[in-house]
């Protein structure tokens, strides 16, 4: 592995007695997309904030571009772009002014900013909205403007905290396309997300966090292969619970969530034959995916402690 852009070692953060980041270690290589997934309150945002020197850690080390943090945070931030979970665009400024003013915080020369702004508007697909204020933009446009703003300093590393939360499918796909474009340009991305399809599509490597601890790390396909059976059969309908009991022996693992029964298995044929004759149910056969992995590792109970 080449020298990492960001290296986090044995990071620990407590709020009172609650441990929100627990002995967390990971690294991001140049050009890599690392996905951080985990339930609400898993410590994703806190970890990003510590990496940016916005929250103090109780233990461990963070190194960005080989520089110790938070001592060299100012130098490190020159090479980092950030998109936060909630938009913090300037409501009084047009898209162009948002980009221009943000560039001034980096001490960039006017000429550099003037040259980058039209390219970033283009990148964010906001050419026609150059003089519109954030209040006049859709959710997807605002997120793309936030992404464009995070690129004003031409960063090597992007920290994106749930960049597509709240977007409609069209806007998400456009955002994904833009992120893939950035990866092709060689930028490294740390991405937190609740969307497993997003993580699977974009990320080279995933970090699964729960209660501040790393509970799994690896390539999405490898993680699925290592932790899960290859196939899933989901059963719905009045007879689902009964089918779960009746055919449980045909699967490696059976899970019930509400009215739905999930069969995890490697050889689905016998189960599918058995279900085909049962008219009190509907079912879906599909390959195991990241969402199954996520639910297996972090459980199905709702987390409200964000």
């Amino acid at each position: 592995m080449p020298e990492p852009l960001l290296r986090v070692s044995h990071l620990t953060k407590k709020y009172g007695d609650a441990v929100v980041v627990d002995d967390l270690s990971f690294a991001i290589a140049p050009g890599e997309c690392l996905g951080v997934i985990g339930p609400n309150g898993a410590g994703k945002t806190t970890t990003i904030r510590i990496c940016l020197g916005l929250t103090g850690a109780d233990g461990g080390e963070v190194e960005a571009f080989g520089m110790p943090m938070p001592e060299r945070v100012r130098d490190a931030k020159k090479r980092i772009g950030v998109v936060t979970q909630f938009d913090s665009l300037d409501p009084d400024f047009s898209c162009v002014e948002n980009l221009r003013v943000y560039g001034s915080y980096f001490g960039l020369p006017r000429a550099t900013i003037a040259e980058r702004v039209p390219r970033l508007l283009d990148f964010a697909a906001l050419q026609s909205k150059a003089s519109a204020r954030p209040g006049e933009l859709s959710g997807g446009m605002k997120r793309r403007l936030s992404l464009g703003r995070a690129l004003i300093n031409d960063p090597d590393l992007l920290l994106l905290d749930e960049p597509t939360t709240g977007l409609d499918p069209q806007a998400r796909h456009l955002m994904w396309e833009r992120l893939q474009n950035l990866l092709q340009q060689g930028k490294a991305i740390l991405l937190t997300t609740h969307f497993m399809d997003e993580a699977e599509r974009l990320c080279d490597r995933l970090l699964v966090l729960d209660h501040g601890r790393k509970i799994a790390e690896g390539r999405p396909r490898d993680l699925i292969a290592a932790h899960l059976e290859s196939d899933v059969v989901e059963v719905y309908g009045d007879g689902a619970a009964a089918a779960g009991k009746l055919h449980g022996a045909l699967a490696e693992r059976v899970e019930t969530s509400g009215e739905t029964v999930f069969f995890y298995l490697r050889e689905p044929k016998r189960l599918l034959d058995a279900l085909a004759s049962d008219h009190s149910i509907r079912y879906l056969h599909r390959p195991a995916n990241l969402e199954d992995l996520f639910l297996k590792l972090t459980g199905r109970q709702i987390r409200d402690d964000s």
Binding site: L54, G60, R74, K77, I80, S88, D90, E97, V101, S104
Partner: protein, 263 residues
């Protein structure tokens, strides 16, 4: 891991504060039309109505026509009010509501730079509104003394003082409502105790003693003679009072803001 920010450390400033001042100026320019109109119309109406209206009833105050007394006091009071308003409501909007500070902190700009920029900007904005009043005073012929120009640096210092004090309360605020206390319990009584609208000579001795250490009283003592073409008799004490409040207020605002952000 070392501490993020030592809350009691001396201010650590870099040139990066300047883009933050420029940001606020750019927003102000967009809204400048109504702002400048208000800055001129408000004192114009007040000075004409009260200065000439009430002035015709009471004649002279402290050996000068009432309109002169009121106008010269109003300049200092408006400076305090404008800096306070910007350091409370506007700074709080940027800090807590719009999350402007948070987005700036993701760039290589430190919290110390932001607090300094907000303080400086509030003082600059206060100077804008004082200048508008001085123009009105000049236009109405209440005073045409060249020493009015010397009042500007003093008003700049007073702006810094009141901006710093406001930022202390900004750092403590949990919502806009909190600022009502500061206006009602601090700014309004201070205005009445500082000889802005009427002399304090007839007040009880102890109240007059309190007034001597108020920053607005210090500002009025300096600004009133300068606006009316005189040199302040004893400028060092009020200058010292303003400077002391400015330094203490700014440092306290910085410490409290650091604690708010990096607790």
């Amino acid at each position: 891991m070392p501490m993020l920010v030592e809350p009691y450390a001396a201010p650590h400033l870099t040139s990066r504060f300047w883009p933050v001042v420029m940001r606020n100026l750019l927003v102000w320019k967009k809204l400048a039309g109504p702002s400048v109109l208000g800055n001129i119309a408000e004192p114009l109406i007040t000075l004409v109505a009260f200065g000439y209206g009430v002035g015709s009833l009471i004649g002279t105050v402290a050996d000068m026509p009432y309109v002169q007394y009121l106008a010269s006091g109003s300049v200092a009071a408006s400076c305090a009010l404008a800096a306070t308003f910007e350091g409370l409501y506007s700074a709080y909007s940027r800090m807590a509501v719009q999350k402007t500070w948070d987005s700036i902190l993701n760039a290589p700009v430190a919290l110390d730079d932001i607090v300094f920029a907000e303080m400086l900007w509030a003082a600059i904005k206060a100077l804008f509104s004082c200048t508008a009043i001085l123009v009105v005073i000049f236009a109405l012929g209440i005073s045409r003394a060249p020493s009015m120009l010397l009042a500007l640096p003093v008003l700049g210092l007073a702006g810094v003082t009141f901006a710093s004090l406001a930022l202390v309360f900004n750092a403590l605020a949990k919502g806009y409502d909190f600022f009502t206390y500061y206006f009602t319990l601090v700014i309004t009584p201070m205005t009445f105790l500082s000889g802005v609208y009427f002399p304090i000579a007839q007040m009880p001795d102890w109240l007059q003693a309190v007034a001597q250490v108020l920053p607005l009283k210090a500002a009025v003592d300096l600004v009133r003679p300068l606006v009316l073409g005189k040199i302040p008799a004893d400028p060092l004490l009020p200058l010292g009072i303003l400077t002391a409040y400015a330094c203490a207020g700014y440092y306290l605002a910085l410490v409290l803001t650091r604690r708010r952000f990096f607790g």
